[in-house]
Every structure is written in C-alpha cells, then in structure tokens.
C-alpha cells in the first residue's frame, strides 16, 4: 500500500505553518504514530526555515514543493526548491558534550534532523535542490 500527497508553498516564513497543518492531516489519514508526526514536524520546521531564511538572494517569490509518501514500512518526505544549492548535511556536527557555559547558541537544527531520521539525502537536479528524509514506521 502506498499513499502520496504534496503541498506547494511560497518562500514565506508564515507559510511554513500550512505545511505543518497539511502533514498533521496526512499523519491522521495514514495513522502515523505520534512519535513519527513529532519528529517530522520538527524536521520540517528546521529545514523549511533554513530554506526560506537563507536560501534566496532575490526578493522574488519562489515555490517550495513538499512531498509525502508512505510505502511499506517507511515514510518519505522530499523537499524540492530552487534556492541556491547548499548541502546542509555537510555542516559539521556540534559538540553536544560541552558544558552550559561553553555550549554555543545555535547550530543544532540540521544535526537533530539527521539524528531523528532513518536516512537523509541531498542532491541537485537541474536547478532544483532535493532534500530527502526517510523515517522508519516500525
């Protein structure tokens, strides 16, 4: 059995919430666990915020396409956008062992996404970025 749906939003911070609502609905329809919904919502917030805030050098409107697919034992989420190419996955992981005084403020978002997903992947195709997350549904 497989189900897929997608939503397109403009590169506007206020629109990120519509993806969250869309995925809440998708999660309900596909009976995804609270844990899966939680982790994906978090990851979407991290990734879409990065794209919207840092991805574009012009002031024009750009469309971000977010695709959800449940198949077998996995949920696949793919974000496709035409922001400037940038592989967030290549960022250095933060040192999570530092004390409260030494911990830098920030730099955790993408690391959390990598840790919470079963698989993450980034590639460019034509002038588009593709960011793929796979989350096991076991």
């Amino acid at each position: 059995m497989s189900a897929h749906q997608s939503i397109q939003i403009p590169n506007d911070r206020d629109q990120i919430d519509s993806v969250r609502k869309f995925f809440d609905q998708f999660g309900e329809e596909n009976q995804l666990s609270e844990k899966v919904v939680h982790d994906i919502q978090m990851a979407l917030d991290e990734l879409l915020t990065n794209i919207v805030n840092y991805g574009y050098e012009d002031d024009g409107e750009h469309i971000i396409d977010v695709r959800f697919e449940v198949g077998g034992k996995n949920l696949k989420v793919e974000i496709v956008d035409d922001a400037k190419p940038y592989n967030m996955l290549e960022r250095e992981d933060p040192d999570t062992t530092l004390s409260v005084e030494d911990k830098p403020i920030g730099g955790l978002g993408v690391y959390l996404v990598k840790q919470l997903m079963s698989h993450t992947e980034y590639f460019t195709k034509g002038n588009k970025n593709h960011f793929i997350m796979i989350k096991g549904l076991e």
């Binding site: 919430d17 005084e101 911990k103 959390l112």
Partner: protein
C-alpha cells in the same frame, strides 16, 4: 502563542502551550526575559502542553540556562514528553537542566 505564568512561593512557573518553534520562540524568549526582569531567579517551565520544541526553541532554553547559571538562579523543566526528552538527549541538553516529572517536584527542585 499562549504562555501562562504564575508564582508559587519563591518560584516562577511558566506554562507555554503548543509549539516552541521558529514562529513562536521569539515570544517565548520575551516572556522568559520579562519574568527575569521582574527579578525572578528560580524558574520552572512546565512542558505538559508543549507538542514540540525545535532548535529555535532549544536556543531560548540554553540562553536562559546560561543567564541563570551566571547569576546563581535555577531553571527547572518538568512534565516533558518522551519525544521532547529524546530531542534534549540528542542535543546534549539533558545534563545541563534539572528535569522533573511534574510541576510540584519541579517547584521543589528550583
């Protein structure tokens, strides 16, 4: 976002509702700073009604912990869901906060 705050004895209790993410973390930070500016140094943040905390939210928690550490205050978190606990574990945030099961034990620990 809805953020309630109250005082129990010497402890300031903050109860945010919903999500602490990119959109709402600014409001949450403003509330913490507002309560700190009132001179409060002992805090409990009750996460019972929080669905998730993104890295923008974690940033606010770390900021508060740093400030209170240097001023000798306390910042206790309570009623954390398992999902949020996992995010704190992964981030290395669990060891730097006092985390208690409920508000009453939180107020005692603060």
């Amino acid at each position: 976002m809805e953020i309630r705050d109250k005082k129990e004895g010497e402890v300031a209790i903050i109860e945010p509702v919903g999500r602490i993410d990119t959109n709402t973390s600014g409001e949450f930070e403003d509330k913490i700073v507002e309560v700190m500016d009132r001179g409060e140094t002992r805090f409990v943040v009750d996460l019972k009604e929080i669905d998730y905390i993104s890295s923008a939210g974690l940033r606010v928690f770390l900021m508060a912990a740093k400030k209170l550490k240097s001023s000798g205050g306390s910042f206790v978190l309570c009623s954390m869901s398992d999902h949020i606990k996992e995010v704190f574990d992964i981030s290395g945030f669990t060891p730097i906060f006092t985390i208690t099961p409920d508000q009453a034990s939180g107020a005692e620990a603060a």
